[in-house]
Symmetry: C2
Subunit: 304 residues, 2 copies
């Protein structure tokens, strides 16, 4: 894989940062504080979803929407916020003592440490609900058909045969030797399907034809797997300080990973192969897809 | 309030039982078992949502849909199943050690006792997702506008300013003296909004005018509150065997309830007043609404 120039990297990073700011603003508005008795719940939801993160999934929504001709940035920001809320809910529940039992998230106390377990469970529950609510509301798109398609695809990506199903398989795999196809299936569900939804969502919002939508699905599938392999590599090579969360968790939980199966060099090669595949799927969009192409390099070269 | 005749009671009960059977069948089909690696998750979802319960919410969907001219019973059963899944998810999470810590549900081990905490958290999460998925799918109604309206209303009923918000307020209220308006607000969120959605859903599915939809909303609001007051009474007067769950929980958790504020007799009167109000809202539908009227008596006279 060719090393991208420093200038390009800066530009992608600027674009990512700019997008993250806009998303924080949108999330902040959607999750308005008030004086209702359930305020503690809103506080915990805000804590879980605001204040950091690279917002890669939200960025994918915004970039794919732009390429697919979505002019109304508010609509794209709502869909991106919905994906970020869904992702945040999964992290809040994942960190719970009964699950991964992780006290740290992005270098801060995880939601159940900052609040308490019950509040964290409810905050995750309500963030999931809100992700669907936002997609269903008229402000997201004038066409009910577009909105309900977004709802359906997010549900399929995140439910029992998507993200949550993947989390279950991940838990059941602790201490077991999984094969490479098993690991690929696990991660295509656990992290892959939501990333695929993020890139597909732009095409749904832009009401593109099937062919174009298929390219974004394929891009999401390949960059999602590359992202996960890079995650496995980081878990063994990066420090807790770099990660902002507990390092070496996979080995500790005796999980089969891409690294345990392919070795670090083999895993790196596979990540780079998939990143290159992902880039190919959007190459037909030319200059418009520059950031999505840059992103394929970014996900495999990041340090956190 | 007039005591309803034994014959009428039997007929409502037969209708309820028949509906519960149909709903179990539909839920069983929607939650098909298979041989996927995430099977343990599906098993836990099935355990949480199948096997019992009065299916009052599902019944309300079916009856309101019938009155609103919905001919396609499969569509109504899908919406009813969605409501039952949403309700089941809330019970699974409610029973968790960090929440109500209840080992029993309908006389059986609660989901986290039968499986484990992590599986119960994930099963609840996936049941919520599936409730939205089912509403969004084309099989529920040919009109995308109807489907997306159902999604939006279910989200509003069950999220941070609905059911989950109510659970948060309920938890925060433990050990505190709440006023009657506080208690009413709590329960209109915690149990009321989902019951209101169940009765409104039939009108949405039947694409009725605003006036008719408003009557079902009002019916749901009043029967929901009557139901909750009856629940508070049962918690102090019924045995664990009758309830199939832990009795006396409210007093144990030092919660303010309708009984602690109004006394048993006062609470009974308020429940009957609200049941009569609920019946009035659907009286214009005549014989068609007979079961919904009978149901207003049933919810305040039930023993579990």
């Amino acid at each position: 894989m060719n090393k991208i120039s420093t200038e390009e990297t800066v530009t992608l990073k600027q674009s990512l940062t700019q997008c993250a700011h806009k998303l924080e603003e949108t999330l902040n508005t959607l999750l308005a504080s008030g004086n209702r008795p359930e305020e503690r719940l809103i506080d915990a939801m805000r804590y879980g979803v605001l204040g950091g993160g690279k917002r890669l999934r939200g960025y994918m929504v915004m970039e794919s929407a732009k390429i697919c001709g979505v002019r109304n940035i508010e609509q794209a920001l709502r869909v991106a916020s919905s994906v970020e809320m869904l992702h945040a809910y999964s992290l809040i529940h994942d960190d719970l003592p009964a699950m991964d039992n992780d006290d740290l998230r992005r270098g801060q106390p995880s939601t159940h440490k900052k609040f308490d377990e019950a509040t964290a469970i409810l905050a995750g529950d309500a963030l999931q609900t809100m992700a669907f609510q936002i997609l269903a509301e008229e402000e997201t798109h004038p066409s009910a058909a577009v909105r309900v398609e977004l709802v359906k695809m997010l549900a399929l990506a995140s439910g029992a045969h998507g993200m949550v199903g993947g989390q279950m398989i991940d838990m059941l795999g602790e201490g077991k030797n999984l094969s490479l196809p098993d690991i690929k299936n696990l991660h295509s569900l656990k992290t892959g399907k939501l990333i695929r939804f993020a890139t597909e969502a732009g095409a749904i919002l832009g009401e593109t034809n099937k062919d174009i939508r298929g390219r974004f699905v394929a891009y999401g599938r390949d960059i999602g797997m590359a992202f996960q392999i890079a995650d496995d590599i980081l878990d063994t090579t990066a420090s807790e300080e770099e990660l902002g969360k507990t390092a070496g968790k996979d080995a500790h939980a005796r999980k089969s990973t891409f690294v345990s199966l392919l070795g670090i060099e083999g895993a790196k090669q596979e990540a780079q192969r998939l990143a290159a595949e992902a880039a190919k799927h959007v190459s037909a969009f030319g200059e418009q897809a520059r950031f999505l192409v840059d992103l394929t390099h970014f996900v495999v070269e990041r340090r956190n």
